[in-house]
Subunit: 409 residues, 2 copies
């Protein structure tokens, strides 16, 4: 229980994110950039489209040639040609004229709108009847209507969704400057932990945290590097920690949730050059005995060994640090969360934030959050859960029916 004074609130813990530098950048192929974090502002160097473009099949016209047209009183237009797809029309049109055009075709000079084919009828090879008037600009996209030259389109620090990739394609960016993906080293500790391929003897259990934490690392857009299991052996943990710090941008040691093992993690950190413990203990449950240190320029975590505690600390505390070093821009707001109604009373201690696993169920018109109770060592409770709810520091509990925000799991 030493360093007890270093227990932080979640907000205080997250302030340490800015102590760590963002990753370096690299240029990668656009086709490989899905979900990566952009490392430059993107401005348009073109107007898009660069030409007035039809969005219907029909006839390019001067809108004024159709004014007043109706079923009972059609306008008659002379068809003077056809726009070929992907080509510059080598003709222009005037009043009373029309040219055939397909979706995506370039409007010829003189045309300012497109009449849908459904609102016309061919009288002969060169004449159509038009049954509806079109306004200038109708059924077409004007030059620069999508993107304007010089406009800032994407900001440094945004994660590239499919539409951002599409935008970059439209701009002709074959390569994209992104932040490198951080490599996160994962070490499981404890004399009682055995590998998955081993039949546990009495008092032993299989390594779960390597798998849950590696998958969480991947979900956060980073690279997981598993360093296996290290027993409660100072020299072995020191050596593996040093290897992980050399190879990775962040290291997570899980286990060591006993008092002795926590001291042990502290000793390992203190034995590294240029190391500083930033906090030891966070006022959350489960997950209080969490340690964050800075070793050189890298974050080094001591996470509780219980699988539920480790996952909750990862999702609530570690992920914002990964987001930060990954180059993600700070979210201006809290992420948008689903709201559900709590299906039973929940008690909670003041002075800490309690995270409760919940399963979502629709009953009647309402979405209900049903608490999944169980100790923080039970992986089955996380499998049953759809998400987490937080019960605030200054709250003694929540009443049945209270609307709660659900953090997805």
């Amino acid at each position: 229980m030493k360093d007890f004074f270093k227990v932080k609130t979640i907000e205080q813990a997250l302030e340490y994110t800015t102590r760590f530098a963002r990753m370096e950048t690299e240029n990668i192929a656009l086709a490989k950039s899905a979900e990566r974090v952009l490392a430059a502002d993107i401005r348009s160097d073109i107007d898009l489209p660069e030409f007035a473009r039809s969005i219907m099949d029909g006839y390019a016209v001067k809108g004024s040639s159709t004014f007043g047209a109706s079923e009972g009183n059609p306008a008659y237009l002379t068809v003077t040609g056809t726009v070929a797809m992907g080509e510059l029309p080598d003709f222009s049109i005037g009043s009373g004229q029309a040219v055939r055009i397909s979706t995506g075709g370039m409007l010829p000079d003189g045309a300012d709108s497109v009449v849908m084919i459904e609102h016309t009828a061919a009288i002969d090879d060169n004449t159509i009847e038009v049954y509806r008037s079109v306004a200038p600009g109708q059924n077409m996209v004007a030059v620069g209507e999508d993107l304007k030259k010089g406009e800032r389109l994407l900001a440094d620090g945004c994660r590239l969704r499919p539409q951002e990739s599409g935008l970059l394609a439209a701009l002709g960016r074959q390569t994209v400057k992104v932040y490198k993906m951080p490599r996160i080293g994962i070490i499981s500790t404890g004399d009682e932990i055995v590998p998955v391929d081993t039949r546990p003897g009495p008092g032993q259990i299989r390594d779960i945290n390597t798998y849950t934490l590696s998958d969480l690392v991947r979900q956060s857009g980073a690279v997981a590097v598993a360093f296996g299991i290290v027993g409660d052996d100072y020299d072995a943990l020191l050596a593996t920690s040093a290897d992980a710090l050399k190879d990775c941008d962040m290291v997570i040691v899980s286990g060591g949730s006993s008092v002795g093992a926590r001291d042990f993690t502290i000793d390992i950190i203190s034995a590294q050059q240029d190391a500083e413990i930033l906090f030891h203990g966070i006022s959350i449950s489960p997950g209080k005995p969490t340690i964050l240190a800075r070793v050189g320029e890298k974050p080094f975590w001591g996470l509780p060994g219980h699988v539920v505690s480790a996952m909750i600390v990862f999702s609530q505390i570690v992920t914002p640090f990964i987001d930060h070093i990954s180059g993600l821009a700070a979210r201006e707001n809290e992420p948008f969360r689903l709201t559900a109604r709590l299906s039973r009373n929940l008690a909670s201690a003041q002075g800490r934030v309690d995270f409760v696993r919940v399963r979502l169920n629709r009953r009647g018109d309402d979405l209900w959050a049903d608490p999944v109770l169980g100790k923080s060592g039970l992986i089955s409770t996380m499998v049953k859960a759809d998400g987490l709810i937080a019960i605030g520091m200054n709250t003694e509990g929540l009443d049945k029916g209270t609307p709660v925000h659900v953090i997805p799991l």
Copy 2:
């Protein structure tokens, strides 16, 4: 406009999913199984834990030895040993006795609970004072409290989250039976489309759909295989379609949103052996001119060329087909959606479902969905949007303030 009678509602379109077989299965390493779809029910062949396990640092005791203990009236217990981590205690305890134990340690015979170290004080090397009573079962996990032997834990068709990987690790599953990831071929068509590395000439635009659709395919847990751009050339599209059908489990042709090009896609489908058009047109906007065919046993899509239409059809119509062939179990309910309030009146035509792009903004206590208006060829509108809202078939529009469900983009 031929085959107009085959226009389907969304629900009718989605009924065709079951026409297609699920992927074959494969056994893969647990460490590679993140986000994959499980292809077998998982039952526990063990009790977990297999031994009674402490979840605190302290002393294993018979609870009855502490009954009535308090600060003013402590119980005095004799310390008879220490449980080593990961080992079977080779001693048992009786009334009035205690053994030192760490979190994760195995309770010795005779012990039924654990006193937290914080609630004790050492009197001498062999004696402790205990200030609080513990009930049998307290501060420990009983045999089988997490998982019971024979219990069905995971069902065929579930997507493996980090906690499911952890569960499989706990069971010692080094390999996992999953459905193979479908390979989805993507073909962009249109004489006006040029590759990203080419400067578009007049009337030309760069290929966007290959990038947006490939990224959407990856988001859906499938493998994207891009076949590049094919001009409006029957023989070339026939050859590329045949290549894609040979290599992939599903093929998506985008573009061809003009009437002529749509007929063209139909002709290409009809030219394949054992091909059947399942529908041509869906009552949604944007995205109506969508074609689904069965070629042999494989789905073959004709998607609109406009980038917004193609993305919306992908997310609403194509994704459920990918989910189905990927082996995902049918969702029992609609997915849980964020609710926001519509920030302005929106008109809508009856007889179709309108999908409107929205940007989410928190104003005061409410989350508002601000419509992002713009034509369905404008990629910038998708970049600005956080999600989509649907305006139902039988609705003339939605009033400002109406609660709407938001489909994330």
